[in-house]
Amino acid sequence: MQKTARLPRQSVAMKQSRRRENIAGYLFMAPSLLFFLGFVIFPMVMCLVYSFTDYTMTSFSFAGFDNYKRMFQDAIFGKALWNTIILVLISVPVTCFFSLWAASIISKLHDRTTSFFRCVFYLPVVTGSVAVTVVWKWIFNRYYGVLNYLCMNLGLISRNMNWLGDASTALGCIITILLTTSVGQPIVLYVSALNNVDQSLVEAASVDGATNLQTFWRIKWPQIMPTTLYILVITTINSFQCFALIQLLTSGGPNHATETIMYYIYYNAFKLQSYGYGSSMGIILALIIAAFSALQFKVAKTDNG
């Protein structure tokens, strides 16, 4: 009797505390949720809506899949997509490999030296894309640049190169700068991941006579896999979004040799005011990035057994 009488009361109390928990939860969430919904989710939804319209300065009407059809016939979009993919396919593996290599060396050094190297490799990120870009523009300059002077003196070239103005070298220049601005964060992450590797396993392996390389692949690599995956995803996202470098160095030129999707979106939306077309390219870019990230997760999972 007593038991059955207490049960409902308890559940009332539980209901009350659950309600309290709900109210408190949403009150605490309110500020961040407000900013997030208002300035991230709402624009994302609107981007999807715009992509089905012919939104420009003068018109705004529903256009179905017209923008998407136009994209597949747009040769410059194709060129931009191709360049973006080259950029990603070069910069992502190089960034990941270099960061891991550098981290594996600097994580073994004296603590102060480790943090010195970490700072140095982070420097281009902190310096900011604009400051980094303008100084590189000077370094690459055809007449007054250090690079031409050095290459001439080393006998690598016979006359001053127009590095950024030549279709065959411009994209390479962009990728070089992109690499210096993207290894900072992966190195920080790898140093911390390598320091967290279970030392007793490493010791055991070396007692068993494993070489350094074997120890790395068999013991350390599986343990830092989650970090590698995260780095792959963020580096891919960053490379796909490479914009400031292009806008300040080449504006997509010469002859669209450095046109990337992000720059082409900017050009269409903010120079030509084709908001609808720009939005549809944005949606495609988001889908491509999502596909790449999903693929990386899948590959890494099967790799891990």
Binding site: E21, L33, F35, F36, W138, Y149
Partner: protein, 297 residues
């Protein structure tokens, strides 16, 4: 460098001492020495652009366009800085500091509350809210700029610093990072506060905040640096000379006078030295922010 080699040996010895191992002392392989040399050369390449900005900003008009590069300004001049400050460069710097400080403050308040709720409050829909936050982080930020511009124009905020601040605060990374830190709050402390009859607000201020303080420090410095360098967002939202940030100011100098390297370098120095100093002062917090913010697995 010999210091470092000694350090490697010492670390190895310490590790062996810790595990009580008695096997042979770690030998410095030739590979490690070669790798360190290569790494030092690469490090010099990473420092060079900054060196070139600073020295370039003190070079006179002949030196910046000399056929043989002037590696160090023997006759330094402040002429570039004088010409820079003849423009509204101080205003640009002030705008940038205001923008970053505001973004930082608002992000820290909203994200610490939101992160705590996601970690410790079992409200209905928590899982859904959290997955939307994480998915949004993986999307390209710049894709939403077109509708965002229209939204800001509608709110009459276009061409004001708020047009940059509000989306920066809305970005989900902060909430995610603070959730990671809030996970470490012991449930027993919250339980004790509840039994003592402390209200939600008091629990948050007196128990939660002191525990997640290092996280807030990490988020603060991370937001400040990110906002300082978020060029694309600033470019879209700010047009008038009065509201430009220092990044936009340098870009403007570059597009107007592309061969006046001295002046441009002075601008680049003004735009990067303050943020580099802030980074160096708080780099411990910053590193922690990056590592804690990594989505694992």
């Amino acid at each position: 460098m010999s210091d470092n080699i000694a350090a490697i040996q010492k670390k190895m010895q310490r590790r062996q001492a810790n595990t009580g191992g008695d096997h042979s002392v770690h030998q410095i392989t030739p590979y490690e020495i070669a790798a360190l040399v290569v790494l030092i050369i690469i490090a010099i390449l990473f420092i060079f652009p900054l060196y070139w900005i600073i020295t370039g900003s003190f070079k006179n008009a002949q030196d910046v366009i000399a056929k043989v590069p002037v590696w160090f300004p023997v006759q330094p001049t402040v002429d570039n800085y004088q010409r820079l400050f003849a423009r509204p460069a101080i205003r640009w710097l002030g705008n940038t500091v205001f923008l970053c400080a505001m973004s930082m403050a608002l992000t820290c308040v909203s994200a610490s509350m939101g992160g705590y709720a996601l970690a410790k409050k079992k409200f209905v829909g928590r899982g859904l809210v959290f997955s939307i936050f994480v998915c949004a982080m993986a999307l390209p930020k710049q894709v939403i700029l077109i509708p965002l511009l229209k939204e800001m124009a509608f709110l009459k905020l276009h061409n004001t610093l708020w047009a940059v601040i509000l989306p920066t605060v809305g970005w989900p990374f902060g909430v995610f990072l603070m959730k990671q830190f809030s996970e470490t709050i012991p449930e027993s402390l919250l339980e004790a506060a509840r039994i003592d009859g402390a209200g939600e607000a008091r629990t948050f201020v007196e128990i939660v905040l002191p525990i997640i303080k290092p996280g807030i420090g990490a988020l603060a410095i991370f937001t400040f640096i990110t906002a300082w360098n978020d060029y694309f967002l600033q470019l879209i939202m700010l047009n008038d000379t009065d509201v430009l940030t220092i990044s936009l100011g340098i870009a403007k100098l570059q597009s107007e006078l592309s061969n006046d390297f001295g002046l441009i370098m002075a601008g680049a120095a003004l735009g990067s030295i303050p943020i580099i100093i802030i980074f160096l002062l708080f780099q411990k917090f910053f590193t922690r922010g990056i590592t804690m913010g990594a989505v694992k697995g």
